[in-house]
Amino acid sequence: MAEAVATPLVRQRSRVVRRRIPWIAIIISTTLILMALGGILGPSINPRSPTATNAAIRLSPPSAQYPFGTDELGRDLFTRALYGLRTTLLIALPGGLIGTVIGSLLGLIGGYRRGMVDFLLQRGVEIITAIPSLVVASVVVAVLGPGRIQLIGAVALSLTPVGVRVMRAAALRVSESLFCEAARALGASHWRIMLRHVLPNCLGPVAVLASLNLGAAIFVETGLSFLGLGVQPPNPSLGNMLTGAASLYFSRAPWLVIFPGLIVTLMILCFNILGDMLADYFDPRLRSQTNA
C-alpha cells in the first residue's frame, strides 16, 4: 500500500519537470497571493478611509483616482473592497481551516476506530448535511449573534461534515493496510497509529479538502453577509457590499455590484482550481478519467 501510494507520486513529479511550464498554477498562486496581500497590507498602505463620505463624488464611475468608482455616499469602493477583503479573509480562512481540521480529525477517528464512535459521528454528519450549509451557519448566527468569532464558528461548523466524510473514507482505506497491522502488532497505541501512520497517508485528500473548503468558506461568509446575517454595516465585507445601496443603485452604477462580486468569484475560482490540481497531483490514476 505504501509503495502503491509512493511510486506514482515520484514518477508524477519527474514528468511535471519535463512538461511545459504550469501556467495555470502560476497564475492561480499569484492571484491568491495578491489577494491575500491586498487583504492584509492593503488597508494599511492605502491612506483612504473606507467610511469617509464625500457627497461631491457620489456614484462616480471607475476612474484613475477611484479604480472601482464610488458609492452613493461618495465612499471609495476600492478602499472599501480592500477592507471588505480583509474582513472576509479574517473570517473565511480561520473558519475554513478550523472546519477542515476538526472535520478531518473526527473523520480520522471514525474511520480508524469504527464501531460506536463511528456510528455516532456518521449520524451527526447526517444531521448537519440534511440542512443546507448556509442555513446551518445562519442558525448559529441567529443564536450567538453576528460577531467575528461567532461567524468563524458558523463557517467552521457548516464545513465540518464534508471533512468527516472525506477523511473517514480515506482513513477506512488506509487503516486496513498491512503497515497499520504491523504497527498494531508492534504494540503501537491507537493514537500513534492514527497520527503517524494513517494521517500521513491521507494527506492527499486532506490537501484537496482544505483547498475546496477555503473556497466554500468564502462562499458561506460572503453569503451570510449578503443575506444581512454576517458582518454588519457600516463595516464593509465583500458580501454586504452587494446589499443595501448596491441593490438599489445597480442600474445607474453597476460598478457597485461588479467589483466586490468579481473578487469573491476569483477567490473561489482559484481555490477550486487549486483543489482540482491537487486532486490530480495526489491521485494520478484518476487523471485520465475524471478530468472535466
Binding site: R123, E126, I127, I128, T129, A130, I131, P132, S133, L134, V135, S138, V139, V141, A142, V143, L144, G215, F219, T222, G223, F226, L227, G228, L229, L242, A246, S247, F250, S251, P254, V257, I258, G261, V264, T265, L266, I268, L269, N272, I273, D276, Q289, T290, N291, A292
Partner: protein
C-alpha cells in the same frame, strides 16, 4: 427485502430530522431567553420590565421544562398548530401556506433548468472526447461553480436592464392570478440557480457516462449492430441516469441553500426569505419550523430518488 430497506431508511431519516430539530430547539433556549427578546426587542440598551418578561414567558409556555416544551412543539406539528411568529404574532401555518408553494416551484424549476443545461453538455463532452469538449466542460464547471448565485443574480438583472431595458415586475403575483407576470418574475431566479446547480451536474454526468461507456454491455450493444444513437439513449443514458439522480438527491441541501439566496436576491417572498428575515430578527419559532421543513425535504427527496433509482436499476434492489 427492498421494502424493508426503504422503511428502515425512512425511519432513520426522520430520526435524523427530529434530532436536528431537537438540537436547534435546545440550542436556541440555552443561548438566550426568547421572552426577554420579545419584550425588549433586539436592541441593546432597552430596559426590560421583569414582570412583563415573566408574563410573556408564561403565555408562551417557556416556564415549563425543556422536554415538555419540545413535546408541545411536536404535538403542534401533528395537529397543524405551528405556533405564532414572535415578531408579527401571526400564525406560522398561514405564512407557510403562501410561501411554501413558491419555494417548491422555484426549487423544482431550477433543478429542471440545471438538468436541461447539464445533460446535453455532460453527454456531449463524454461522447466526443477531445481537447475542445474537455476544455468546454472544464471552463463551464469552474466558472459556474465559482460564481455565487447572489452575484450572478445581480449581474443578470443589470445585464437585462442595460440591454433590454427590462426588469421583472415588482410585487409577486401568484400564478393563478396572472401566469404571464408570474413567469416573468420567476424566470431570472430560476435560470440563475439552474446555471449554478448545473456545474456539479455536468461533471458528474460526464464521469457517469464515461464509466458506463467502458462497460462490456456497451461493447455488446455495438457489436450486435445497434445504431450509435440507440446505444447512447437506450443503454448509456439509462445506466448513467440512476447514479446522477442519486447525486442530485444528495445535493438537495445545495439546491435549498441556493433557493434561500435567490429568494433574497430577487426579493421573492418564499420560505427562504421568511427564514432569512427570521434569523435577522431572531424569530425562533420560524427558524425552528424552517429548519424542520428543509431537513424533512432533504430526507423525503432522497427516499424518492432511492426508489426511482432502484426502479431504473434492478441491481440496486438487491441491497438492504
Amino acid at each position: 427485502m427492498f421494502v424493508q430497506y426503504l422503511i428502515r431508511r425512512a425511519l432513520g431519516g426522520f430520526a435524523v430530522v427530529l434530532l436536528a430539530t431537537f438540537f436547534v430547539f435546545i440550542f436556541i433556549r440555552i443561548a438566550g431567553d426568547p421572552a426577554a427578546l420579545i419584550v425588549g426587542g433586539t436592541g441593546e440598551n432597552i430596559t426590560i420590565n421583569p414582570q412583563r418578561v415573566e408574563q410573556v414567558r408564561q403565555e408562551l409556555g417557556l416556564d415549563k421544562p425543556l422536554i415538555v416544551q419540545f413535546f408541545t412543539f411536536l404535538s403542534g406539528l401533528v395537529t397543524g398548530g405551528l405556533g405564532n411568529s414572535y415578531v408579527t404574532g401571526r400564525p406560522i401555518a398561514d405564512e407557510l401556506s403562501v410561501r411554501l408553494p413558491l419555494t417548491i416551484e422555484i426549487a423544482f424549476l431550477s433543478e429542471f433548468v440545471a438538468w436541461i443545461i447539464a445533460l446535453p453538455l455532460g453527454l456531449f463532452s463524454a461522447l466526443r472526447r477531445g481537447r475542445f469538449t474537455e476544455g468546454l466542460t472544464r471552463v463551464f464547471f469552474f466558472i459556474a461553480s465559482a460564481i455565487p448565485a447572489y452575484w450572478l443574480g445581480l449581474l443578470v438583472l443589470i445585464a437585462v436592464l442595460l440591454i433590454f431595458g427590462w426588469r421583472p415586475p415588482l410585487g409577486l403575483v401568484p400564478p393563478t392570478q396572472n401566469l404571464a407576470v408570474h413567469l416573468q418574475q420567476i424566470a431570472l431566479p430560476v435560470v440563475v440557480l439552474g446555471f449554478v446547480l448545473a456545474a456539479g451536474l455536468v461533471r458528474f454526468i460526464r464521469n457517469a457516462v464515461l464509466e458506463v461507456l467502458q462497460e462490456p454491455f456497451i461493447q455488446v450493444a455495438r457489436a450486435k449492430g445497434l445504431a450509435e444513437s440507440t446505444v447512447v439513449f437506450r443503454h448509456v443514458l439509462r445506466n448513467a441516469f440512476a447514479p446522477t439522480l442519486a447525486f442530485s438527491g444528495l445535493r438537495v441541501g445545495f439546491l435549498l441553500g441556493g433557493v434561500v439566496i435567490v429568494e433574497t436576491t430577487f426579493n421573492l417572498p418564499g420560505l427562504g426569505l421568511f427564514f432569512v428575515d427570521a434569523v435577522a430578527r431572531r424569530d425562533f419559532p420560524v427558524i425552528q419550523i424552517a429548519v424542520l421543513i428543509l431537513g424533512t425535504s432533504f430526507v423525503i427527496i432522497n427516499l424518492l430518488t432511492d426508489i426511482v433509482c432502484s426502479l431504473l436499476d434492478p441491481r440496486l434492489r438487491e441491497r438492504g
